[in-house]
């Protein structure tokens, strides 16, 4: 009998080079059209031009050790000099802690460790007892951190005036307080603005619109310079606390609008369904509405948080020694006068801010992918 069907398989062959393999990948992703091809070439050209310069400046020609600016002068070093990391090394304690007394610097360190614990517990989705974690992050941690940083003479921790705090420590304090306050407050305000009670609604709306309507610089300036003029002479509010409150309220207003955006995407039917199931108002909010709303709002929330982190540097205009301010003050040190000191200082600042912000962005990306796993939109 004649057989028309082939029974043995044809040996598989590699795909043609034009579709498979690295060449095919490049063709599909980098050179799929003339315009894309040109863009690719342009970007490659830019990289080829910039990367070696950056590498040479930041690493190859960099000076890593030295006791003064002399080490970073080409005529002393006897070679071209790039970034002067010796300067950062010399100033690192000041950059990290400001004028926080050297003997007490274990306290900010411990506070940061606690922060890492709180953040890890809250952010790692598979962690045990995440309800305890939230309690720790939003209640226990702030109290402990405050006692550690400001001191509690009754507990044997000498008090450290906030005027001595500085550098990255202050940047972290401002950012963390801003985040820890603005998240819950922002959610409350967003709910308030959608409330059916007119008083709550009007007050929330007024609050949000007021804080969104004034520039942060004005808020800080009012808080720091004008407030003491209006208070009676014997009442003083801590100098760091004033901008802290200002920033926290300011961020809350923005956060509220982001959360409200999320709330508006939850169809009314969800709430009605929850009610039909016999869930109370609070339960439906906590179990049905908020989880969906926050999921949608997440990119906006992270956006606000990253913006907040970078905005903290504005406190320097009211005399708070934040990270950028101490970097500038370090740069004024005549012992460290050398050609590449300014560039080094700004490169370091960029590196630090980028690391923190990129870290937050990556984490948010991870959460988003996880939350979207059910939908793949």
């Amino acid at each position: 009998m004649q057989r028309f069907i082939r029974v043995d398989l044809v040996a598989s062959r590699a795909p043609p080079a034009a579709v498979g393999g690295p060449l095919g990948w490049m063709r599909r992703n980098l050179f799929s059209s003339l315009a894309n091809g040109l863009t690719t070439l342009l970007i490659l050209g830019l990289l080829a031009w910039a990367l070696p310069i950056a590498l040479r400046f930041l690493v190859l020609d960099a000076v890593w050790t030295g006791a003064s600016g002399d080490a970073c002068r080409p005529e002393v070093a006897g070679r071209p000099v790039g970034a002067c990391w010796a300067f950062i090394a010399d100033k690192i304690n000041y950059l990290a802690y400001g004028s926080y007394p050297a003997a007490e610097r274990w306290r900010p360190n411990l506070a940061v460790a606690l922060l890492a614990l709180a953040a890890g517990w809250m952010l790692w989705l598979g962690a045990p007892r995440r309800d305890l974690g939230a309690l720790f992050a939003f209640v226990a941690f702030p109290v402990c951190a405050y006692l550690l940083l400001a001191g509690a003479p009754s507990l044997g921790l000498p008090s450290v005036a906030t005027g001595l705090w500085g550098g990255f420590l202050v940047t972290m304090v401002v950012a963390v307080v801003g985040i820890v306050v603005s998240l819950p407050l922002g959610i409350l305000l967003a709910l308030g603005r959608r409330s059916t009670l007119p008083v709550v609604r009007v007050l929330s709306t007024a609050f949000i619109e007021f804080w969104r309507g004034v520039p942060l610089i004005t808020v800080l300036f009012m808080a720091n310079v004008m407030l003491p003029l209006f208070l009676p002479g014997d009442i003083t509010v801590d100098r760091l606390l004033r901008p802290l409150v200002g920033i926290a309220l300011f961020a809350s207003a923005y956060m509220a609008e982001v959360v409200r955006g999320g709330l508006q995407t939850v169809p009314k039917g969800q709430q009605e369904a929850a009610a039909a199931l016999g869930l109370s108002q609070a339960q439906s909010l906590r179990l049905v509405v908020l989880p969906q709303a926050l999921k949608v709002a997440l990119p906006g929330i992270v956006n606000t948080i990253i913006g907040l982190f970078k905005d903290t540097t504005l406190v320097s205009i009211v005399g708070i020694s934040d990270f950028i301010r101490v970097l500038e003050a370090s740069r004024a040190d005549p012992r460290w006068s050398a050609a590449t000191i300014p560039a080094t200082a700004y490169a370091f600042a960029a590196l630090v801010y980028f690391t923190v912000c990129f870290g937050m962005a990556r984490y948010a990306g991870f959460i988003e992918r996880r939350l979207a796993a059910g939908e793949r939109r």
Binding site: K91, G163, V225, P228, P232, G233, G319, S330, R331, A332
Partner: protein, 331 residues
């Protein structure tokens, strides 16, 4: 508008004198600039150093016998007076020029601690030797300073024109100058020494010799507190009288043991009870010299020939050495 109101609102001030407040608080609060090399700048450990800083340390030494009992709060040029008025700081020690209008705006300037004048930083490549050649130049300077007004006067009286760009702090001003936005950077000469060293290539810039104004720096205090005013003035006088009498931080212990001249004995509190009139102990000046040094010690340590700044003593030499620093006698 609020700013104009500030001096009027000002007298929130202490019902109690500043000295009593400072003693009760346990430390002095001192307004300084946020980073003028040699005058007030934090070192790598976050300790404030400089001539203006030393002045506050001397005050703290006189009051508490401890130069560490002082908190420094950096102030911008624009906000410094408000900070003083609002009671935020006890004394403003921040390269601040004593002028009539500032003096009458509810402030006092008890004593001149540093004699300076307004100068110009220019690029060497411009080949400028005198300020007159800056006709039609663009000049960078800092808001809320005497610099702005001096410049207007000087150029107007000479029929020269110029353009001015102002900034809120020295970083921005220097940044603008370096990036070529201005032909010259003008401020107090003493600050320019440090600013020049902050540029990427200090050798490419020069400070013109001329000074176009008088800038007498004085610590500022709130008006109407005479005991505090005395103390602030005499803290500086003690430092120059000590220098004149040859008492320095290095030899003060030795002098105290073997002092013969009545002058030295009075300064060191071995004779008379002069400190008590100031509300302090008799050894107040000894404390200052022991902890901070005399004026020359502080000058050399912070801005003198041994430092990168190398500011000449000039007008700030003692009166008997060709300068203007003259302390009334302690007696």
């Amino acid at each position: 508008m609020l700013f104009c109101m500030a001096p009027a609102l000002a007298q929130n001030g202490p019902a109690q004198g500043t000295l009593a407040q400072v003693k009760a608080r346990g430390h002095l609060v001192c307004g300084v600039s946020g980073g003028v090399a040699g005058f007030s700048i934090p070192d790598s450990q976050g300790q404030w150093r400089g001539l203006d800083v030393d002045f506050c340390r001397a005050l703290a030494a006189a009051i508490f016998d401890d130069p560490a009992k002082v908190r420094f709060i950096p102030q911008s040029s624009a906000a410094r007076f408000t900070a003083l008025q609002s009671g935020e700081i006890d004394v403003l020690s921040r390269n601040t020029t004593w002028t009539l209008s500032r003096d009458t705006a509810a402030m006092n300037f008890p004593v001149i601690t540093f004699y300076d004048g307004q100068g110009f930083l220019v690029r060497k490549s411009l080949n400028i030797a005198s300020v007159k050649q800056l006709d039609r130049a663009t000049i960078c300077l800092q808001q809320g300073t005497t610099t702005e007004l001096n410049l207007a006067d000087w150029f107007r009286t000479r029929g020269l024109t110029y353009k001015v760009v102002t900034f809120a702090n020295s970083e921005q001003t220097l940044g603008a100058y370096e990036s070529g936005r201005c032909d010259a950077y003008s401020t107090d000469k003493s600050s320019l020494y440090g600013e020049r060293l902050k540029t990427a290539h200090p050798d490419e810039h020069v400070i013109l010799d001329e000074a176009i104004s008088k800038e007498p720096f004085a610590p500022g205090i709130r008006q109407g507190d005479d005991p505090w005013r005395d103390l602030v003035a005499w803290t500086h006088y003690a430092m120059i009288d000590a220098e004149e009498a040859g008492i320095s931080q290095a030899n003060v212990e030795e002098m105290r043991r073997s002092a013969l001249s009545p002058d030295v004995k009075r300064i060191l509190g071995l004779e008379g009870k002069y400190g008590e009139g100031l509300g302090l102990t008799t050894d107040w000046a000894y404390r200052i010299i022991r902890h901070v040094g005399n004026y020359g010690d502080s000058f050399e340590r912070n801005v003198g020939a041994q430092t990168p700044l190398k500011i000449p003593r000039g007008l700030n030499a003692l009166w008997n050495q060709g300068g203007l620093q003259y302390g009334p006698p302690i007696r």
